[in-house]
C-alpha cells in the first residue's frame, strides 16, 4: 500500500518504498511499502537467482506534484 506523507516543504509528497535485496546475487528490487514490512524481513524469491530475498531498506522519496 502506498502511503503518501507530506514532505518537508508541504508541496512535496513522500512515497514510501521497500527495497528487497538478494543476499546471494545482490539483486535489488524496489516496490511500494506494505504495512508489515520491516528491515531484515524475509521477502519474495529473487527474480535472478531464485534465492530468498530480504528487506534491506525502507525509505521515503519525494515526488513533486505534476502540473
Amino acid at each position: 500500500m502506498m502511503s503518501p506523507v507530506p514532505g518537508p516543504d508541504k508541496k512535496t509528497k513522500l512515497l514510501v518504498y521497500t527495497i528487497e535485496e538478494c543476499p546471494a546475487c545482490g539483486q535489488k528490487t524496489k516496490r511500494a511499502f506494505a504495512v508489515g514490512d520491516y528491515v531484515t524481513k524475509e521477502a519474495a524469491k529473487c527474480s535472478k537467482c531464485g534465492n530468498s530475498t530480504r528487506v534491506s531498506l525502507v525509505y521515503a522519496e519525494g515526488q513533486k506534484p505534476s502540473g
Partner: protein
C-alpha cells in the same frame, strides 16, 4: 513634472490643490471643502492640519507602541495556539483510533487516554547531585514500565509491535498536549498581566514551537504504519552486522550479537526491533564491559544527529564521545563504563533535521547506511588491531528495523 503637493497661490479667492495624492482626496466627492468654509476658520492652513495629524500619529505611536506591539503579539500567539490545539486534538484522536482499530481495545479507551495525557513524571530533587543519575534512571524506568503495562492492559492483544507503537503514539499526544498547555499558560499570563516582554518572547518562539509540534504530528503517520524513522539509521547499520548471527537479550528491549570483522571480535548491539524501542544501550555496554569481562579496544556508536540549517541531510560526521541523546542517563552510563575501563569512544553521526529524525526515513538517510558501514570498517581497522574486542552500538528508535 508636477509637484506632489502644491497649493496654487495665484488665485486668492480659491485655494486649489493641483496634483498628488492629497489633491485627489480633497477633490473626491467625500471631502470637498469649499473655499468659503476654509476661509471661515481663522488661521486655517491645510498644510498645518496635515502636519498636526502627523504629529498626533507619531505621538500616539510613541506613547502606545508597546500596547500596539502587545496586541499584535497576542493576535499572532492566538493563531499559533489554535494551530497547536488542532494538532494536539489530532494526535489524541490518532492514538485513540489506533488503540481501537489496530489494538482492538475491548472498551472505549478515550477516558483512559485523556488521563494518560495529563500524567506527570516528577524528577528527583537535584540539590544534592550525588547519585542523581541513578534516581533519574529509577523514576524514568518506573514511568516507562507503567506506560507499557497500562497500554498493554488497554489493548486486547500483546503483540509487542502494536504495544510499542501505541506507547509512541501516546507519547506524541502527551508531548503535544504539554506544548499546548505551556504556550496557553504564557499566553494567558501575558494577557492578564499586560506583560509586553512575556508576549514578545513567546511571539518570537512561536515559529520554532509550531515547527516542532508539526514534526511530532507528522511522526504519528510513520508510527502507525510501522515504518523506520530517520533516527533508526544506527539500528539499520547494526542490523546488517547481526544478520544470521545468534542474538541474546542483554538489557531491557536491547539485543546483542557477536560477530567478526578482519580478526576483531565485534559485540554489536541495538534495540530489539521491529518494535518502536530505543532500548537500554547504557546498561548493555556496562554489562559487556563489566559482567561479561570483555576488554574492548574501542566502543563505536552510530546515531542520528540533528543537523544545523544549511547542512545536508544524510551527511556523515565522525567524532569522539558518547553519541546518544535522551535525558542523559544512558550517556552517563556509557561514559562511566568507558572511563572506568579506559576505552575510547568513537561516534559516527548521520545528520538530519528533527522532522526527518522522527518521521519515515528519507532516501538520503537510508542511502547513508552503506557509507556509514565503510566509515565503521575504517575506524575499526585504524583504531584496533587483530584479536581486539570492539563494541558497536546502533543507537536510536528501531521501529521497522529487526535484526
Amino acid at each position: 513634472m508636477p509637484a506632489p503637493f502644491t497649493i496654487s497661490e495665484s488665485d486668492n479667492s480659491s485655494r486649489t490643490f493641483k496634483s498628488g495624492f492629497a489633491a485627489s482626496i480633497f477633490e473626491s466627492p467625500v471631502f470637498v471643502p469649499s473655499s468659503d468654509v476654509l476661509q471661515a476658520v481663522p488661521g486655517f492652513d491645510t498644510s498645518s492640519l496635515v502636519t498636526l495629524i502627523w504629529i498626533a500619529f507619531f505621538a500616539l505611536t510613541f506613547l502606545y507602541q508597546t500596547r500596539i506591539q502587545s496586541y499584535l503579539a497576542l493576535s499572532e500567539i492566538s493563531r499559533g495556539l489554535n494551530k497547536l490545539k488542532v494538532m494536539k486534538d489530532k494526535a489524541r484522536k490518532d492514538a485513540i483510533d489506533y488503540l481501537v482499530n489496530v489494538g482492538k481495545a475491548p472498551n472505549d479507551p478515550t477516558q483512559r487516554v485523556d488521563q494518560f495525557l495529563d500524567y506527570v513524571t516528577i524528577m528527583p530533587v537535584d540539590m544534592d547531585p550525588n547519585g542523581l543519575v541513578g534516581k533519574v534512571d529509577h523514576v524514568v524506568t518506573i514511568n516507562n514500565d507503567r506506560v507499557r503495562a497500562e497500554v498493554g492492559a488497554l489493548l486486547n492483544q500483546n503483540n509487542p509491535v502494536t504495544v510499542s507503537i501505541s506507547e509512541n503514539l501516546l507519547e506524541v499526544a502527551t508531548s503535544l498536549n504539554q506544548i499546548h498547555k505551556i504556550v496557553r499558560h504564557f499566553y494567558l499570563l501575558g494577557k492578564k498581566t499586560n506583560s509586553y516582554f512575556t508576549l514578545v518572547q513567546l511571539q518570537m518562539l512561536m515559529p520554532m514551537i509550531i515547527q516542532e509540534a508539526d514534526a511530532l504530528l507528522n511522526a504519528t503517520d510513520s508510527f502507525k504504519m510501522g515504518q523506520p524513522v530517520g533516527d533508526g539509521i544506527g539500528p539499520v547499520v547494526v542490523s546488517r552486522l547481526m544478520a544470521g548471527k545468534d542474538k541474546r537479550v542483554i538489557a531491557k528491549d536491547t539485543v546483542m550479537a557477536v560477530t567478526e570483522y578482519k580478526g576483531r571480535n565485534l559485540y554489536v548491539l541495538k534495540a530489539d526491533g521491529p518494535m518502536a524501542y530505543v532500548g537500554q544501550p547504557g546498561v548493555a555496554i556496562q554489562k559487556i564491559v563489566g559482567e561479561m569481562g570483555v576488554k574492548p579496544s574501542a566502543i563505536v556508536m552510530i546515531d542520528a544527529a540533528l543537523k544545523l540549517e544549511g547542512e545536508k541531510t544524510g551527511e556523515i560526521a565522525e567524532g569522539v564521545g558518547a553519541a546518544i541523546g535522551g535525558i542523559g542517563v544512558e550517556k552517563f552510563q556509557i561514559e562511566e563504563a568507558a572511563t572506568k575501563a579506559k576505552v575510547p569512544l568513537y561516534a559516527i553521526l548521520v545528520k538530519q533535521s528533527l522532522l526527518e529524525a522522527i518521521t519515515v526515513m528519507r532516501k538520503e538517510i537510508a542511502e547513508a547506511a552503506d557509507k556509514v558501514t565503510q566509515v565503521l570498517n575504517r575506524v575499526i581497522e585504524e583504531k584496533t588491531k587483530e584479536g581486539d574486542d570492539v563494541v558497536v552500538a546502533g543507537i536510536g528508535n528501531t521501529l521497522g528495523v529487526a535484526q
